[in-house]
C-alpha cells in the first residue's frame, strides 16, 4: 500500500497545509512535527510562488513572507530530505505549474522521488493540461493529485476516473481562505466521485473549525486545512509549533469516528 493510501486506511484523514519557509524552514520543520505528533495523517507542503492566483490573502501572505526570507526550490528539497529521516506520513507538494516547469519537470520530479515526496498538487494544471507532466510523475512514482471544484459538474466523472493518490474536492467557489459557511452540495459531488473511482477524496478550502471539519469528514474521507494553520504562523511566527499542534489535535479529535 502506498503511503498516501495508508494515510486514509485508518479512518478519516486530517491533511495539514504548511507553506515552506514561512517564516523560515526551521519553523516549518517544527510545525510539521507538531502536526504529525498531534494526528495529521498527510502533510501538504507549499512551495512558495510569487503570484499564487488560487490563494486568498492569508496564503498569499505566507508565500511572500517565505520568498522574502530567501526560500528557493533547492533549499526546500534539502529540507524535505532531512525531514524524511523521521517523518513517516505521506508528504505532497503544492505549488504552481511554473515552479515545476521552470525547474525542469523531469529534474523536479526525480528529486521528489529521491527526497520522499509522494504527490504533487498544481492548482493551475487542470485535466486538459496534465499530459505534459503525468508521464513524468508516473515514471517517478509521484501521484499527480487532481482537483474537483463546485463548477466541475459534467467533468467530475472524467477527472475521477483518471485520478491518482487522493482527490482534492474544492468545497467552494473562489480562492483559499476560511469561510463561515460552505454551501456547495458536496454530498452529491462525492457520490459522483465514488461512482467513478475507489481512491479517497478529501475536502479543502474554507475549513477552519472542528464543527466544519466533522461535517466535511462525514461526507468524505478527510479534510484539508491550510489558511487556519497559516493564520497561526502569521500570528505566532517562530513560536507557532505548539499552537499548531494544539489546533491539529482539536481538528483530528473532531473527525475521529
Amino acid at each position: 500500500m502506498s503511503r498516501i493510501a495508508n494515510a486514509f486506511a485508518g479512518g478519516k484523514a486530517f491533511i495539514a497545509f504548511i507553506t515552506c519557509g514561512d517564516p523560515d524552514l526551521e519553523t516549518t520543520g517544527a510545525v510539521v512535527r507538531a502536526a504529525v505528533e498531534n494526528g495529521a495523517d498527510l502533510i501538504e507542503l507549499g512551495i512558495p510562488f510569487s503570484d499564487p492566483t488560487a490563494e486568498g490573502p492569508v496564503i498569499q501572505g505566507a508565500n511572500l513572507r517565505a520568498l522574502r526570507g530567501g526560500i528557493t526550490t533547492d533549499r526546500i528539497f534539502d529540507f524535505v530530505r532531512k525531514l524524511r529521516e523521521d517523518i513517516t506520513v505521506p508528504m505532497v507538494f503544492m505549488t504552481y505549474a511554473n515552479v515545476v516547469f521552470s525547474y525542469g519537470t523531469e529534474r523536479f520530479l526525480s528529486l521528489c522521488r529521491d527526497v520522499g515526496i509522494d504527490g504533487l498538487i498544481l492548482p493551475d494544471l487542470p485535466f486538459e493540461e496534465k499530459e505534459e507532466s503525468l508521464p513524468v510523475c508516473r515514471a517517478c512514482g509521484v501521484d499527480l493529485i487532481s482537483l474537483i471544484a463546485p463548477t466541475s459538474e459534467n467533468r467530475i466523472a472524467m477527472i475521477a476516473r483518471e485520478a491518482e493518490g487522493f482527490l482534492y474536492l474544492v468545497s467552494s467557489l473562489g480562492v483559499t481562505g476560511t469561510r463561515t459557511e460552505i454551501t456547495t452540495d458536496l454530498g452529491a459531488m462525492v457520490r459522483l466521485v465514488r461512482e467513478n473511482t475507489d481512491i479517497p477524496c478529501a475536502i479543502g478550502f474554507g475549513i477552519s473549525t472542528p464543527e466544519q471539519a466533522k461535517r466535511m469528514a462525514d461526507l468524505s474521507d478527510g479534510v484539508i486545512v491550510g489558511s487556519a494553520i497559516i493564520k497561526l504562523l502569521e500570528k505566532y511566527g517562530r513560536n507557532a509549533p505548539p499552537h499548531v499542534g494544539q489546533y491539529v489535535k482539536a481538528m483530528k479529535d473532531a473527525i475521529r469516528n
Binding site: D51, G56, A97, Y103, T151
Partner: protein, 396 residues
C-alpha cells in the same frame, strides 16, 4: 492559426484552476456560435462604426516622413476611437458576447486604465455591472482614468498585492472570477490568459490590420514594407499584424518596453529578456528568476508594465515571422514629444514606443518603401507623468 487546444506552437493552453474550466469552455462554445452568427456580427459592426467611430483613419505623416528622410510613414489612428484607444474594439466584442451569454456583470483588469475605461464604457452602454481591478501603483500613475471609470459607473478596486501593477490586477481579476462565475464575464484586455482569450481578443482586434490593408491599397495600391506596434500583452500589435502574417514581404515589428534598458532589472521587455514559462493561464515568455518566480518588471508605461506576452507573439517570435525590439523609457518619451511637435498628435506613451523605433528604422529604408505605425491610443492620460519625468509638476 489556432489548433483545437488553443496552442500557438508550444505556447498558449489553459493553465487555470479547475473552478474556471467550465467557464472558459462555455465561453469558447458561445464564441464559436456567435462569431458565425450574422445578427451578432451586424450588431457588433454597427457598434464599432456608429459608437466607436470605426474605421479609424490611416494618416500619411508627411512631415515626419520628410524629416526622417526614408520610408513613407503612415499612422493607424486607433487613438481616434471612442475612449481613446484600440481597447474598445475588443471590449465591444466581448461585452456583446457576454450579454448574449446571459451575463450581467463584467470584470476587468487594467494597467494604464484604457482597457478599464473601455470596459466601463461598454458596461454603461449595455446596462451591465462593472468592476475593474487596477494596481494601486497604477491608480496613482493614471488617476484621471480612475475618475473616468467611476464616472462611467464602474467600481475600481485598487490592488495592493505584489508589485501593485498590471500583473497583480490580472491575478486579482482571475481570483474574483473564480468566486463569481454565474453572472460574470471576465473581459480580459489583451491577447493573453487561457484559451480562448488570446484567440477571441485577437479576432476582435484584427479589424486594425484588415483596415490598414484595405486603406493602404486604396492610397498606395500596395502592401506596407513594415508594420510597427507596441507590445505589452500584445493586443494592438496582434491586431495590426494579423492580416499580414501570410504576406511574407511585410516586416512585423513589435516594440517592447525596455524600461531603463534590457541590461537592467528595471525592464518589461519580455521576449528580449524572458524565457518560456507558465503563468496567468498560458505558456509563453515571461520575465522570471531561475526558480520561476515572476519578476517585478518596470516601464514608465503602465500599459506595457507586464512580465508576460501573448502566446501568439511568442510563437511568431519562435518561427521568426515577427521581430521584437526593445525601446527604453527615454526613447519613448522623446518619441512622445517628437510626434506631438511634428504631427500635432499626442500618442499614448505605450504607442510612443513604436514611434521611437520607427524613428530609427525609417531613415534606413528607401523613399519608395512604406512603414505603418499603429498609434494604439491617445496620450492625454500620460501628460502629467511625462511632465513629472521632465521635472515639472502639473495638476490634472
Amino acid at each position: 492559426m489556432t489548433n483545437p487546444n488553443g496552442r500557438f506552437g508550444i505556447h498558449g493552453g489553459q493553465y487555470i484552476p479547475e473552478t474556471l474550466m467550465n467557464a472558459v469552455i462555455e465561453l469558447e462554445q458561445a464564441y464559436n456560435r456567435f462569431k458565425a452568427d450574422p445578427d451578432f456580427n451586424r450588431e457588433l459592426t454597427a457598434l464599432l462604426n456608429n459608437y466607436a467611430g470605426r474605421p479609424s483613419r490611416l494618416y500619411y505623416a508627411e512631415k515626419m516622413t520628410r524629416e526622417l528622410g526614408g520610408a513613407k510613414i503612415y499612422l493607424k489612428r486607433e487613438d481616434l476611437n471612442h475612449t481613446g484607444a484600440h481597447k474598445i474594439n475588443n471590449v465591444l466584442g466581448q461585452a456583446l458576447l457576454a450579454k448574449k451569454m446571459g451575463k450581467t456583470r463584467l470584470i476587468a483588469e487594467t494597467g494604464a486604465g484604457q482597457h478599464g475605461v473601455a470596459t466601463a464604457t461598454a458596461a454603461a452602454l449595455l446596462d451591465m455591472e462593472c468592476v475593474v481591478f487596477m494596481g494601486e501603483e497604477d491608480t496613482i500613475r493614471q488617476a484621471l482614468n480612475v475618475y473616468r471609470m467611476r464616472l462611467l459607473g464602474a467600481e475600481v478596486i485598487p490592488v495592493k498585492t505584489g508589485t501593485a501593477t498590471l500583473k497583480d490586477a490580472v491575478s486579482e481579476a482571475m481570483r474574483e472570477w473564480t468566486s463569481r462565475i454565474d453572472d460574470t464575464h471576465y473581459c480580459l484586455g489583451s491577447v493573453m490568459g487561457p484559451h480562448p482569450f488570446p484567440t477571441i481578443v485577437r479576432d476582435f482586434q484584427a479589424v486594425i490590420s484588415r483596415e490598414i490593408k484595405q486603406q493602404l491599397l486604396e492610397k498606395e495600391g500596395r502592401l506596407p514594407d513594415a508594420v510597427l506596434a507596441c507590445v505589452g500583452g500584445g493586443s494592438n500589435a496582434i491586431g495590426s499584424f494579423y492580416h499580414f502574417i501570410e504576406d511574407k514581404s511585410v516586416r512585423l515589428i513589435g516594440c517592447e518596453a525596455a524600461g531603463k534598458g534590457i541590461d537592467t532589472f528595471e525592464t518589461a521587455a519580455t521576449i528580449n529578456t524572458g524565457r518560456v514559462g507558465i503563468f496567468h493561464g498560458m505558456k509563453s515568455y515571461f520575465c522570471q528568476d531561475e526558480y520561476g518566480q515572476i519578476a517585478p518588471v518596470y516601464s514608465i508605461s503602465a500599459g506595457l508594465d507586464y512580465p508576460g506576452v501573448g502566446p501568439e507573439h511568442a510563437w511568431l517570435h519562435d518561427i521568426g515571422r515577427a521581430e521584437y525590439v526593445p525601446v527604453t523609457d527615454e526613447e519613448a518619451i522623446c518619441a512622445f514629444e517628437y510626434l506631438s511637435k511634428t504631427e500635432g498628435i499626442i500618442p499614448a506613451i505605450e504607442s510612443a514606443h513604436a514611434v521611437a523605433h520607427a524613428q530609427k528604422l525609417a531613415p534606413t529604408m528607401g523613399k519608395d518603401q512604406i512603414v505603418v505605425i499603429t498609434i494604439s491610443g491617445r496620450g492625454d492620460k500620460d501628460c502629467a507623468a511625462i511632465a513629472r519625468y521632465r521635472g515639472e509638476n502639473i495638476y490634472e
